[in-house]
């Protein structure tokens, strides 16, 4: 069965510190992977995506993520967090061959940034 696990429900970091949010997936087919961000009261915004090729992908707002097939992981990173990065982050997976294009989402990681 397809699943996405975000092990950390809540993470707190100081402004300027580095950040890594973890995501593990279980999917039988070749995965397509996404990170979305949701600010309070808002919809979800796509941060970055991985389809193929270079396993380190760059996204908006200075975020990057690395796909590691051997670990079934797609962790999100940022070298220096800004207070405006406080939000909830969702990892999602889709699959090649899934013509209906449905995505499976993790339960989210809430990020708090201390000044």
């Amino acid at each position: 069965a397809q699943s996405v696990t975000q092990p950390d429900i809540h993470i707190t970091v100081s402004e300027g510190a580095s950040l890594e949010l973890r995501c593990n997936y279980s999917y039988g087919a070749t995965p397509y992977l996404f990170w979305y961000v949701q600010s309070p009261g808002q919809g979800l915004q796509l941060l970055l995506k991985y389809f193929s090729g270079d396993t380190l992908v760059q996204g908006i707002k200075g975020f990057e993520a690395e796909f590691k097939r051997s670990q079934s992981s797609f962790n999100l990173r940022k070298p220096s967090v800004h207070w405006s990065d406080a939000a909830e982050y969702f990892c999602a997976v889709g699959a090649e061959g899934s013509t209906l294009g449905r995505l499976y989402f993790g339960r989210g990681t809430q990020l708090t940034v201390w000044p």
Partner: protein
């Protein structure tokens, strides 16, 4: 930003009443999705559509129905609202396969069933 609107944005209704939420897109995308978001559960798929009059169930479809009579509109109906359907509902759209399944989300509808 993708052209997706949802209406209403907020609604309070009583148990047992029917409720219809609307998702409207201006992108002419084929695929549309309804999710609900609840604390600790992330986003869960309710129903989806892969064309006009073509819909199917997601993982939490009980108590919900959908209709899509035009490409741009995807309606979600709660036939008889229950308190367990208090949630935030998001609509999403996706283009063709060339876009590799990324979905774009509307602003959400906060529904409270009293």
């Amino acid at each position: 930003d993708a052209g997706i609107t949802q209406s209403p944005r907020h609604k309070v209704t009583e148990t047992g009443t029917p409720v219809t939420l609307r998702c409207h897109q201006t992108e002419n995308h084929r695929y549309m999705y309804w999710y609900r978001q609840d604390p600790g559960h992330g986003l869960r798929l309710i129903h989806y559509s892969y064309g006009v009059k073509d819909t199917d169930k997601g993982e939490v479809s009980d108590g919900y129905s959908v209709s899509r009579s035009k490409t741009e509109d995807f309606l979600l109906t709660l036939e008889s609202a229950t308190s367990s359907q208090t949630s935030v509902y998001f609509c999403a759209i996706r283009g063709d396969v060339a876009l590799h399944y990324e979905q774009y989300f509307g602003p959400g509808t906060r529904l409270t069933v009293t």
